[in-house]
């Protein structure tokens, strides 16, 4: 058992590394395949399968591959495999959530030598190495012609990463054996079993019952209990996922914004900056973090967190002030407040419904008449698309070091460029749009950070969204294990090690 690790895992893996881009899937394929680049424990991007990479010109990146990456059949990783893999990402059939979003602006990739790959983008793209850390490279020989289903039924194809699949029963468990031919540092665990346990309480119970050694996605409410349990250790670290409240900016009557008697207001009050400021003032983020999240979150002062592009340490979040909020509301012409619905998911983020209620409380105290509506994500999304909300909760991660809120919520909807995908409130600010669009094509780091900072600041001044808090990654294990969490929320078992005594 000393060489074996059993993980209680929230996610249910897809063994085809190019199918269904969700965070938990990335963690699984990282165990059995690899990517050109890889982030370290702090989230900094560095080489992985690519020994090195460089910018050839504004539009061209060149990746040099390692020569010691051995496949099952004895052959080694070649540029052809990389090209094949990236092509496979683009052409995989029937994929509702393709990894192509990570190939943004890439127009061409070619093998320019046996171990050199050249990648061309249509605009300067500083994020290419970052993006490619999320794309799996698979051996062409082994996987060519295999369908997604084959990966499951054959329990893994052509694995060459730190582990190989030993057995897989969907919905139940994934058993991995250490790959003794792995090119990189060999992980400690000979055998890793992922037990699939989507229910939070079940994972915690399994750890307490010593059925598993490590669990991911610990519910914040159980952290206190786990900390008090002697033979359990909790490992936490920052996450790039921020919980924000999106505001509805749509013109005219909005069903979710009503007067005292429930009739939609003629004018959308949220278009008034003072109203938005009032709402932001009303929300006591500290209380939410402490009370609802049990301290397992960090108050967000802006849409970026320290270490991210655009983070401005001068920006602070003022303390909650319900009376100040009332004053602002009165100034804006709503001394009696107004009815506002807060739409939240109840099955997506930890404590999402509870946070929503707490926000409701706070708005009520500031004189508004909030209506808290919590729904499963599937239903919520439809409501949001229909603009049927006053405030709506969303969780936004980062793409590497780039805060996603800017591109997805703050930027106006531009489907063709992949902007504003979650901008359901219909916020439009051409200046901000330009600010954001300029930033992402700036190759120079400092300059880009400067532009991003401007965007972040404007977003805060305009109160385009209400940043609430950054989640923390919570993992718990037997007390005799150490574990370093990953800001991307990936559960990487080699980060778990027996504690040295």
């Amino acid at each position: 058992r000393t060489q074996e690790l059993v993980v209680g895992s929230q996610g249910d893996p897809s063994l085809d590394p190019h199918y269904m881009y969700i965070g938990t899937n990335v963690a699984f394929w990282r165990h059995i395949y690899g990517s050109l680049t890889m982030h370290d424990e702090e989230g900094r991007i560095g080489p992985s399968l690519a020994e090195s990479y460089k910018l050839v010109d504004d539009h061209t990146w060149e990746f040099r591959l390692r020569d010691d990456v051995k496949f099952e059949d004895g052959s080694t990783l070649s540029a052809e495999d990389v090209v094949y893999s990236l092509n496979r990402v683009k052409s995989l059939p029937g994929n509702p959530s393709p990894y192509t979003v990570r190939l943004e602006s890439i127009t061409k990739f070619e093998a320019v030598g046996p171990s050199t790959v050249r990648i061309t983008t249509d605009a300067p793209n500083p994020y290419v190495p970052d993006n490619l850390s999320q794309v799996a490279i698979v051996p062409q020989k082994a996987t060519d012609g295999k369908s997604t289903g084959d990966f499951t039924s054959e329990a893994g194809i052509g694995e060459y990463g730190p582990y190989r699949v030993s057995s897989f029963s969907p919905g139940d468990r994934l058993v991995l054996e250490r790959n003794e031919d792995y090119w990189g540092e060999k992980p400690h665990w000979k055998r890793v079993t992922f037990r699939i346990m989507p229910n939070d309480a079940s994972r915690v119970a399994a750890l307490l019952a010593k059925d598993v050694d490590l669990i991911d996605f610990v519910p914040p409410s159980d952290v206190k209990r786990l900390l008090e349990t002697p033979d359990v250790a909790v490992h936490d670290g920052p996450s790039t996922r921020m919980i924000v409240l999106q505001l509805n900016f749509r013109d005219g009557k909005v069903g979710a914004l009503t007067d005292a008697s429930g009739r939609p207001l003629e004018q959308n009050p949220l278009k008034d900056l003072r109203v938005r400021q009032a709402i932001s003032k009303a929300v006591d983020r500290k209380a939410i973090v402490e009370r609802i999240m049990n301290g397992a979150a960090d108050v967000a002062t802006q849409v970026a967190m320290p270490g991210m592009e655009g983070y401005d340490s001068d920006l602070t979040m003022e303390a909650a002030d319900p009376n100040g909020a009332r004053v602002l509301l009165a100034e804006a012409g709503y001394p009696e407040g107004f009815g506002i619905s807060i739409a939240c998911s109840n099955n997506r983020y930890p404590n999402d419904a509870r946070v929503c209620q707490a926000v409701g409380q706070m708005l009520a105290r500031a004189g508004l008449q909030p209506k808290v509506e919590t729904q499963p994500m599937s239903v919520l999304l439809k409501a949001m698309q229909g603009g049927d909300f006053g405030l709506a909760m969303l969780g936004m991660g980062a793409q590497g070091t780039r805060p996603q809120t800017l591109g997805h919520i703050v930027h106006s909807v531009d489907r063709d460029a992949g902007y504003g995908g979650y901008n359901f409130g219909g916020y439009v600010n051409p200046a901000l749009d330009k600010n954001i669009a300029d930033a992402v094509v700036t190759l120079d780091g400092d300059q880009r950070d400067q532009l991003m900072r401007e965007a972040v600041k404007r977003t805060a001044e305009e109160v385009v969204v209400l940043p609430l808090y950054f989640q923390r990654v919570l993992t718990a294990s037997r007390a005799d294990l150490t574990y370093t969490t990953d800001p991307t929320e990936e559960t990487l078992t080699w980060r778990a090690k027996p504690a040295s005594k």
Partner: protein, 323 residues
Amino acid sequence: MVSYLLRRLPQAALTMLVMSVVVFVGVFAIGNPVDILISPQATATERDNAIRALGLDLPIWQQYWSFLVNLFQGDVGRSFVFNVSALHLIMERLPATLELALASTLLGLVIGMPFGLYAGLAPNSRVSTSIMAGSILGFSLPSFWVGIVMIMLFSVHLGWLPSGGRGDTVYWLGARWSFLTTDGLAHMAMPVLNLALFQISMVIRLTRAGVREVILSDYVKFARAKGLTETRIILVHVLKNILIPVITVVGLNLGTVIAFAVVTETIFSWPGMGKLIIDSINVLDRPVIVAYLMLMVLMFVVINLLVDLAYMVLDPRVRLESR
């Protein structure tokens, strides 16, 4: 029998068809699965590609039509989430659910019948009152709550039973089963009990009601007049008559147990159909939902049929008429 089958089949087929229409329209009304699954930074093209890849770009009636066409070629569609045949996906998890449902039904009978018999034979005794009051617990507490309490008690505090999952399985008849290994049985214990609680109370109540009716009948009195021992009267004359309604209800309930194993499977991380369907509903994985529901209808029809057969075996009066 043949004619009975032939009579039921078209009805079943029609029901399945209606079901598929309802699900198609229903899921369509709830939302678009791509919006739930796809990453927000997907461009419009990517989104459109995904939608087209899943065939969701067509008008609903066309989607339904192609579903029907495929259905007649034996293809119920591929899961949006897993990109494998929905039927395959379900079949893979069917045994887990089946073994849970059957075991809990069995447990319901094994525990429920003796208690019910006792409660029916001595309706006014203190023990019977306790049995009846206790049986109320079986369906009054939400099963997720009972489940977590059981886990806390038996796994966390006492450490007797594993907290979840299926444990070791054995390959048999083309599927993996837990009940053939001791480890598997240990894993089954709690989910089965959790699921059986409702059944136990139901069987207790049914049995008691049956006993109280049968015990007053002339043939029981006649059996007494023949000088039979009370044991034989109860075990043969009374029990056999009670078995008829009990088997009917329990059998019909089996379908419900299977259909509603969702919660138990979630709590105990049991990789059955219930967990699959709830996940599929959450992400609107329509092919899986449709296939699952059609399978459920089919299963209900089959169970009805089996119940009818059991009825015929148990009740000779029915046997004659249907021949």
